[in-house]
């Protein structure tokens, strides 16, 4: 049954990336700009987005736009026009975290579909349903949940569930410029220095010498990312059986060539499962392409899928 296939969603940093990710097998791309969205692999203007929408819709793919920044007063003025522009461009949904976006969308772009993405704080089904009553049609569940919690959510959800299945995750976000502050403290020049995501900065904690935590600054502050890349391909069927609607592959800080391999691998699993759910079996070889291009210093892990956390 074609209709029940879960969606494969990938953030894209440009028109070219969007096109190549869709060609590789993505059902949807997530795009946007740093002013409104957070931790995007690159920036797409409204014109770019229009172009992507045209291409995507011609190829039966969807376009979502990230508007999930923590909104400041300054941004409120531009927000309605931006959302109106997105609705006109024909995007299929926006991601939001801040209620200010909900309010602005309600008045300026009531036709926009809304996906609730509060990053690490989307941790239970009841809160997702709460945002559902406010107009959200999907929840992007927190990456810190384990498999039991995710699977346990689905029957109770009145909105769709999106789960990140691959790539790094954000583990710390500050409005402070932490790298610039550190370098200034060291007496090093900061003005004009690139501290962005292409600089390749990372942190190492004294007792965890093998783990590299990427860190970068942009207009939204300082972002620290996980040292491992989630890869749940092996157990993707558990999520497919549970009825997860959308699988997200994170492309942030990865070359497009790597992301394309990842898309292909997950595509293979999704198709195989759709064709024959009963006879489905994961094949180790699906991982070959990913493993070949995987940064040897970043572990492919199950993230929090099989971890018990305490508090």
């Amino acid at each position: 049954m074609e209709g029940t296939k879960p969606e494969l969603l990938v953030p894209a940093g440009s028109v070219e990336e969007a096109v190549s990710f869709i060609s590789a097998g993505a059902d949807a791309v997530l795009v946007g700009e740093d002013k409104y969205g957070m931790r995007l692999p690159g920036e797409c203007s409204l014109e770019d987005i229009s172009q992507i929408v045209k291409y995507a819709h011609d190829h039966e793919a969807k376009v979502y736009v990230s508007v999930n920044t923590l909104v400041s007063n300054d941004l409120l003025e531009d927000l309605p026009a931006y959302l109106e522009g997105l609705e006109k461009a024909g995007v299929d949904a926006i991601e939001f975290g801040d209620p200010a976006v909900l309010r602005a969308a309600g008045s300026a772009a009531p036709g926009l579909k809304l996906h609730w993405n509060a990053e690490m704080t989307s941790t239970n089904y009841a809160t997702a349903n709460y945002w559902g009553t406010k107009g959200a049609s999907r929840v992007v569940v927190a990456r810190e949940l384990n498999m039991d919690e995710i699977v346990g959510m689905i029957p109770h959800l009145e909105v769709e569930a999106e789960v990140q299945v691959h790539g790094m995750t954000n583990i710390y976000h500050s409005k402070r410029r932490l790298v610039a502050s550190y370098m200034t403290h060291q007496g090093r020049p900061v003005e004009g220095t690139n501290l962005g995501k292409d600089r390749g900065l990372f942190l190492i904690e004294a007792e965890r010498q093998d783990e590299k935590y990427p860190i970068y600054e942009d207009m939204n502050g300082t972002h620290i990312m996980s040292s491992d890349d989630i890869c749940i391909l092996e157990d993707l069927h558990v999520l497919m059986e549970a009825g997860v609607h959308s699988f997200k592959i994170e492309s942030l800080l990865k070359p497009a060539s790597y992301t394309i391999e990842v898309i292909k691998a997950y595509r293979q699993a999704i198709e195989a499962f759709a064709k024959d759910p009963e006879g489905y079996a994961f094949e180790e070889s699906w991982l070959d392409g990913i493993r070949h291009l995987q940064d040897s210093e970043r572990e492919l892990s199950f993230g929090f899928f099989y971890k018990e956390q305490v508090y």
Binding site: D98, E119, M120, H173, K175, A180, Y182, P189, E205, V310
Partner: protein, 444 residues
């Protein structure tokens, strides 16, 4: 000659319900609650056995809450409960009953981050006030308006909000604004940090935070595919680049003698900026620290109480008293700053040097009784002290004096050489009258 100093408020905002801002203090347990209120807090916030973000604090049972509420009533003070976790599926089942119990024991408000708890509270205990927690990182007026329309009379703003932004929020929304004015701060947006989850499998948003932001890190840059050539000029300007060696795969972004990288922030302290906070219309001044000591809570509350009262009584002639700052410094665990209120924190607002954690003073004794005729005080021992040591007595509203401990007696009048036993009652002559609940501290 008359010198009138015209007071020109820089910020103008209206408080929502209160003439005077509320001073809101943390209370990690029943005893701390009593000290916080006795030393001048208008309200305290506490944690219950569930749904709070301080799983290591000795949180209140319902019985203790009831006692706390009774105590607070005598002072006209209020008790709030932090129910500010982000709930997981397994946490959902007991919420209704828990909230009913809170309402039943007389709690005035709950502080909530997760909308499911907001929604449940509004439905199940509509007369229990709900305040939006700082964990929601609310930093704009439209979001504030959203929560007001959801039935919340108060929003605790994200700590990233500046005074100007608060003024803007106040201009647009008639709602109580609570702001942290003192204490330790997350350097991340609150709730937007899972360092603990990643480093130690402890869930930060359910109270398991292990403060990984205060650990030390080394900053590196990934080796580039192309060789990097450092020009003479670059090498002159950048003391770290000078050390660059070709062929390494990770370029250290620190010189051997440099401090390590950290996200650890200095602590917030607005004692010198009370007029701005009052003028901008902040309704509730919140002190952080449910895990802090009695001495800390009493000292900090005492100083802010005086500053607020002094400004409210006579804004035109208000000056920041040096003793308020001195007092705060006696309890401070870290260097202090003004957070985001005036500007985004920069290199001077983080703690790169090794931290000197301990506050310089210890709580040595609590005054239980005072005999005005003999001038002898009965003191409950809270830390070792002995004759010959210099101690300070202080009480609510800034009463303060220093003296040397003279002859020391036990409860039965036997002379002793030191107060060694925890909670032991001892007596000695004080140089000025003291009152029940006055505190005695000594230098470490």
């Amino acid at each position: 000659m008359e010198t009138t100093m015209q007071h020109k408020p820089k910020y103008k905002g209206k408080r929502y319900r209160l003439d005077k801002p509320e001073l809101l203090a943390p209370a990690g347990n029943l005893e701390k609650l009593k000290f916080a209120i006795h030393y001048g807090a208008d309200a305290v916030y506490i944690g219950g056995q569930k749904y709070g973000l301080r799983s290591n604090a000795d949180n209140f049972s319902f019985e203790e809450m009831r006692e706390g509420v009774e105590f607070a009533k005598k002072y006209g003070a209020k008790v709030f409960v932090a129910t500010n976790i982000y709930a997981h599926n397994e946490d959902l089942a007991g919420i209704e009953e828990y909230l009913r119990n809170l309402y039943e024991v007389g709690i005035s408000a709950i502080i909530v981050a997760d909308p499911v708890i907001v929604d449940t509270a509004r439905r199940v205990v509509p007369n229990l006030e709900v305040h939006l927690s700082t964990q929601q990182s609310t930093v704009n007026w439209q979001a504030v308006k959203y929560w007001k329309e959801e039935g919340l009379p108060r929003v605790v703003l994200g700590r990233e909000t500046s005074l100007e932004e608060i003024a803007e929020i106040k201009k647009h929304v008639d709602v109580e604004i609570e702001a942290f004015i003192h204490g330790a701060m997350c350097s991340s947006y609150s709730g937007r940090c899972v360092l603990s989850n990643h480093f130690t499998d402890r869930d930060s948003n359910r109270g398991g935070c292990c403060q990984s932001c205060r650990w030390k890190y080394d900053l590196f840059e990934d080796a580039r595919e192309e060789p990097v050539w450092i020009s003479e000029e670059e090498a002159r300007e950048d003391r770290v680049l000078q050390q660059f060696k070709l062929g390494v795969t990770q370029l250290p972004q620190f010189a051997a003698e440099d401090n390590a990288f950290t996200m650890g922030s200095k602590d917030l302290c607005m004692i010198s900026n009370i007029p701005d906070l009052i003028d901008v219309g902040v309704d509730s001044f919140k002190i952080e620290g449910r895990m802090k000591s009695i001495h800390y809570v009493a000292t900090v509350v005492n100083a802010y109480r005086q500053a607020i009262d002094s400004y409210m009584a006579d804004p035109e002639h208000f000056t920041v008293k040096p003793e308020w700052i001195q007092e705060i410094n006696k309890a401070a665990n870290r260097p202090l700053n003004t957070g985001f209120f005036y500007d985004t924190p920069d290199h001077e607002d983080h703690i790169y040097e090794p931290e000197e954690k301990a506050a310089p003073y210890d709580f040595a004794g609590l005054v239980m009784d005072y005999d005005a005729e003999t001038g002898i005080a009965t003191i409950q021992q809270r830390n070792h002290f002995k004759p010959g040591q210099e101690v300070e007595f202080f009480g609510p509203r800034g009463t303060f004096f220093k003296q040397t401990v003279g002859t020391l007696w036990d409860e039965n009048g036997n002379e002793i050489d030191a107060a060694r036993h925890p909670l032991q009652l001892v007596k000695f002559k004080t140089e000025q009258p003291v009152k029940y609940f006055d505190m005695m501290r000594k230098k470490k």
